[in-house]
C-alpha cells in the first residue's frame, strides 16, 4: 500500500513539476480574468496558439477566477515557475499594481490587459471598447428614434457591480452615445446584473415593472443582455418587426455565438454587441515577446490599442458575423442556419 502511494505521489510530482525556462524554450504565463466565460476561454486559446505558432513559445495558463486574490496568487505561481513573461487580465487596478511590482522584482516582464496598474509603469494592451460602446449607444438611439420619434430613449444598464473599467469602457460611453443622438435621453437606472443571465433576468423584471417605458437596455456583457432579453420575453416584449423595434432595443458586449444568433434574428430585440479575441491575444503575445527580446522597455507605460468591432443587425451582415466568429471563437457552424432555426 505504502509503495503504491509513493509511486502515485512521485507520478503526481513529475506531472506537475514546474516548466522551467532554462531548457531554452520560451515560457509565457497567462492569467485570464476567468476561465468560466467563453470570451476569456477564447482569448486563452488564441494566446496559446499564436505564441506557439509565431514564437515557438509554450504557455502556462493559471485561472484568475474573477477574483483579486486568485489573480495575484496566479501571478505568484507563475513567478515561482520562473516563466519568461506574464500577461495579466486582473479584476482591479490596485491588484494589477501589486502584481506588476512583484513580477518586476523577480525580473519577469509583465503586460496588463484592460486593468492597468495605478502607476502606469508597464506596457498595457487596451481594447478600445469605449469607442465601440459609444457607437452602439449611437446606433441604438438612432434606430429607436427612427421607429418611435415621439418617445425619447429611456435607458437601463446592467453592470457587474463595482468595476471602474466597466464604467469607463462600456456603460458610460454607451449612454454618452445615446445622448449624442438624443440629448434628452434619460438614464433610468443602473443595476448589478452580476455578469449572470439569471440574475439579470430577475433584475430586469423588476426594472421593467418599475419603469415599463424603458426602451433601451445595455448589458455590460452578452450574458446579462441575454438575461434582459429573457425577462422582456417573459413580459411579452423583446420583439421586433423585421428589425424595426417594437418594444425595446437590447445591447451587450463580447459578440459571441449566443449573442450573434439573437442579433441577426429580425424579430428579436437583442440587436447589438461588440468584442475582440484575436487581436487582444496577438497584442498581448507580441508585446510580451517584444519586452523579452528587449525591443520594448519593461518598466515604462506603453499602450497598445486594439479594436473591438461592433456588430449590429442594421449595419452588418450575417456573413461578417460568421467570419468574425470563425476567427475569434473557433466557430465552425452555419450562423445563417442557426438564425433561421430561431422562433
Amino acid at each position: 500500500m505504502k509503495k503504491t502511494l509513493l509511486a502515485m505521489a512521485a507520478a503526481v510530482t513529475l506531472s506537475t513539476a514546474p516548466v522551467s525556462a532554462a531548457d531554452g524554450e520560451i515560457v509565457l504565463g497567462k492569467v485570464p480574468f476567468t476561465l468560466e466565460h467563453a470570451y476569456h476561454q477564447s482569448v486563452v486559446r488564441y494566446f496559446e496558439g499564436y505564441a506557439k505558432k509565431e514564437y515557438g513559445a509554450k504557455t502556462i495558463v493559471v485561472d484568475g477566477q474573477s477574483s483579486s486574490e486568485s489573480a495575484l496568487s496566479a501571478v505568484e505561481n507563475l513567478i515561482a515557475q520562473k516563466v519568461d513573461g506574464i500577461a495579466l487580465h486582473s479584476p482591479d487596478i490596485a491588484m494589477s499594481e501589486t502584481a506588476v511590482t512583484m513580477a518586476k522584482k523577480a525580473g519577469i516582464p509583465i503586460v496588463t490587459t484592460l486593468m492597468f496598474p495605478m502607476s502606469k509603469s508597464t506596457p498595457h494592451v487596451q481594447p478600445r471598447e469605449d469607442i465601440s460602446s459609444f457607437r452602439m449607444g449611437e446606433v441604438a438611439a438612432t434606430q429607436w428614434l427612427k421607429a418611435h420619434p415621439d418617445k425619447k430613449p429611456r435607458v437601463a444598464i446592467l453592470n457587474f457591480g463595482g468595476f471602474e473599467q466597466i464604467a469607463s469602457l462600456r456603460t458610460d460611453p454607451f449612454f454618452r452615445g445615446v445622448q449624442s443622438v438624443s440629448a434628452d435621453a434619460e438614464l433610468v437606472t443602473v443595476q448589478n446584473g452580476g455578469g449572470s443571465t439569471i440574475t439579470s433576468m430577475d433584475v430586469t423584471l423588476d426594472i421593467l415593472q418599475a419603469n415599463p417605458d424603458v426602451n433601451i437596455i445595455f448589458g455590460a456583457n452578452d450574458d446579462m443582455a441575454l438575461g434582459a432579453l429573457a425577462a422582456t420575453e417573459q413580459l411579452g416584449r423583446g420583439r421586433m418587426d423585421n428589425g424595426v423595434p417594437l418594444t425595446e432595443i437590447i445591447a451587450g458586449v463580447d459578440a459571441g455565438e449566443n449573442a450573434m444568433v439573437k442579433i441577426f434574428n429580425p424579430n428579436c430585440s437583442f440587436k447589438l454587441s461588440h468584442g475582440q479575441v484575436r487581436d487582444n491575444g496577438i497584442a498581448e503575445v507580441d508585446t510580451l515577446m517584444g519586452m523579452i527580446k528587449g525591443d520594448i522597455p519593461t518598466d515604462e507605460w506603453f499602450q497598445v490599442d486594439t479594436e473591438s468591432p461592433t456588430f449590429d443587425y442594421w449595419n452588418n451582415s450575417i456573413r461578417e458575423a460568421q467570419a468574425f466568429l470563425e476567427v475569434n471563437f473557433n466557430f465552425d457552424k452555419d450562423l445563417k442556419a442557426m438564425v433561421a432555426k430561431q422562433r
Binding site: 468560466e36 466565460h37 467563453a38 476561454q41 457591480g161 463595482g162 433610468v188 437606472t189 443602473v190 443595476q191 448589478n192 449572470s196 443571465t197 439569471i198 433576468m201 430577475d202 433584475v203 423584471l205 423588476d206 426594472i207 415593472q209 418599475a210 415599463p212 450574458d223 441575454l226 438575461g227 429573457a230 417573459q234 413580459l235 455565438e257 449566443n258 444568433v261 473557433n330 457552424k333 442557426m338 432555426k341 430561431q342 422562433r343
Partner: protein
C-alpha cells in the same frame, strides 16, 4: 380568546415574520406605484420559486439537524446536463427524467457520506458542491463552449415558460405543490414526526429504533431531486444553460430556512415559516430594485433587513415563551 392567546404563544415566530412581511408590502405599496400589481407579485413568486422548491425539502433536512451545501452546483449541473441532452437529440421529457435521476444520485452521494459514513455535512456536501460544479463546466466544454444556448430545440423553453391553465406559471405551481407536499409530510406523516425526533436527539432516536440513516438519506435525495428539477426549470425558463448559475444559492436557501425559524441544530422548524422567510427576502429584494436603489446600498439594506427580522423574531419569540 384562549385560542388567540395559544396561537400567540405557539406561533410567535410565524406571526412576527408575517408582520414583517405585511410591513414590507404596505410600505412598498406606498413607496412604489408599480408594486401592488399582479405582474409584480408574479415576478416575486417566480424569483423565489426555485429557492422555495429546494428549501421545502432542505427545511425538513435541517429539521433533522443536517444541511446540504451542494444544491447550487447540483442545480447548475442539472441545467447543463438537460440542455446537453436536448441539444443532442434526447427527447425533452426523457431528458428531464434522466436529469432528475442523476440529481438524485448526487443526493445519494451526500446520503452515503453524511448518513452512512458520518462525515460532517458541511465538509461532505461542499465536496459534492465542487465535484458537481466541475462536471457542469466539463459538460459545457464538451459541447464546445462556456454555456449551452444555440442548437437547442425550439420547444426547449416551453417547459420553463409553461402556463398551467393558461394563467399560472409552472414554476409557481411547482412551488405550491412542493410546499403542500412538505406541509403534509411535516404534519401528517411518520417521516415528518421522525425527522423532528432525529433532529432533537439523534442518539435517542437511534436507540428508539428509528432508521435515522434511511430518513436522512431519503431527505438528501429529495433535496437533490428538487435542486435538479429547479435546474431544468430555470434553464428552460431562460433558454440558456450556464455552469456558473446557482453560485451562492445554498446561502439563499439557508437564509430562507433560518429566517423562517428552523434551527440549524435541528428539531425545530416548519415549512410555512420557511415560506414566510423566503417571501421576506424576495419582497425586500424586489422593493429595493423597484425603488431603483443602487446595488451597494441594496447589499447593506438586504443585510440589515435579515438581521432586523431575526432580531425581531428572537425578541418576540422569547416574549411569547415568557
Amino acid at each position: 380568546m384562549d385560542r388567540i392567546q395559544h396561537l400567540l404563544r405557539t406561533e410567535t415566530q410565524k406571526l412576527v415574520l408575517l408582520g414583517t412581511l405585511l410591513m414590507i408590502i404596505v410600505g412598498l405599496s406606498f413607496a412604489s406605484s408599480t408594486f401592488l400589481t399582479v405582474t409584480n407579485f408574479t415576478n416575486v413568486f417566480l424569483k423565489v420559486a426555485v429557492i422555495v422548491i429546494i428549501a421545502s425539502a432542505a427545511n425538513m433536512l435541517m429539521i433533522t439537524g443536517h444541511f446540504d451545501m451542494s444544491v447550487g452546483s447540483v442545480l447548475a449541473l442539472s441545467g447543463i446536463l438537460h440542455a446537453y441532452m436536448c441539444k443532442h437529440g434526447v427527447p425533452i421529457e426523457l431528458s428531464i427524467l434522466i436529469t432528475c435521476v442523476v440529481a438524485m444520485c448526487w443526493g445519494a452521494v451526500n446520503a452515503l457520506t453524511v448518513a452512512v459514513l458520518g462525515i460532517n455535512p458541511v465538509i461532505a456536501t461542499v465536496g459534492v458542491l465542487f465535484i458537481a460544479r466541475g462536471f457542469a463546466f466539463l459538460i459545457a466544454r464538451w459541447d464546445g463552449g462556456a454555456n449551452i444556448m444555440t442548437g437547442l430545440p425550439m420547444e426547449f423553453v416551453d417547459f420553463g415558460r409553461e402556463l398551467v391553465f393558461g394563467i399560472f406559471p409552472l414554476a409557481i405551481v411547482l412551488m405550491v405543490l412542493s410546499l403542500l407536499v412538505f406541509i403534509f409530510v411535516e404534519k401528517k406523516t411518520a417521516l415528518g414526526r421522525l425527522s423532528y425526533a432525529v433532529g432533537t436527539n439523534i442518539k435517542a432516536a437511534k436507540l428508539s429504533g428509528i432508521n435515522t440513516v434511511g430518513i436522512i438519506g431519503f431527505l438528501y435525495m429529495m433535496v437533490a431531486l428538487f435542486a435538479g428539477l429547479s435546474g431544468v426549470l430555470q434553464t428552460s425558463r431562460v433558454g440558456l444553460a450556464s455552469p456558473s448559475v446557482g453560485n451562492g444559492l445554498e446561502f439563499d436557501v439557508i437564509v430562507a430556512i433560518i429566517l423562517g425559524g428552523t434551527s440549524m441544530m435541528g428539531g425545530v422548524g416548519s415549512t410555512v415559516g420557511m415560506l414566510l422567510g423566503a417571501l421576506v427576502v424576495g419582497f425586500s429584494s424586489n422593493g429595493l430594485n423597484l425603488l431603483g436603489i443602487p446595488f451597494y446600498y441594496q447589499s447593506i439594506a438586504y443585510g440589515v433587513i435579515l438581521i432586523g427580522s431575526l432580531m425581531l423574531n428572537h425578541r418576540f419569540t422569547n416574549m411569547g415563551r415568557g
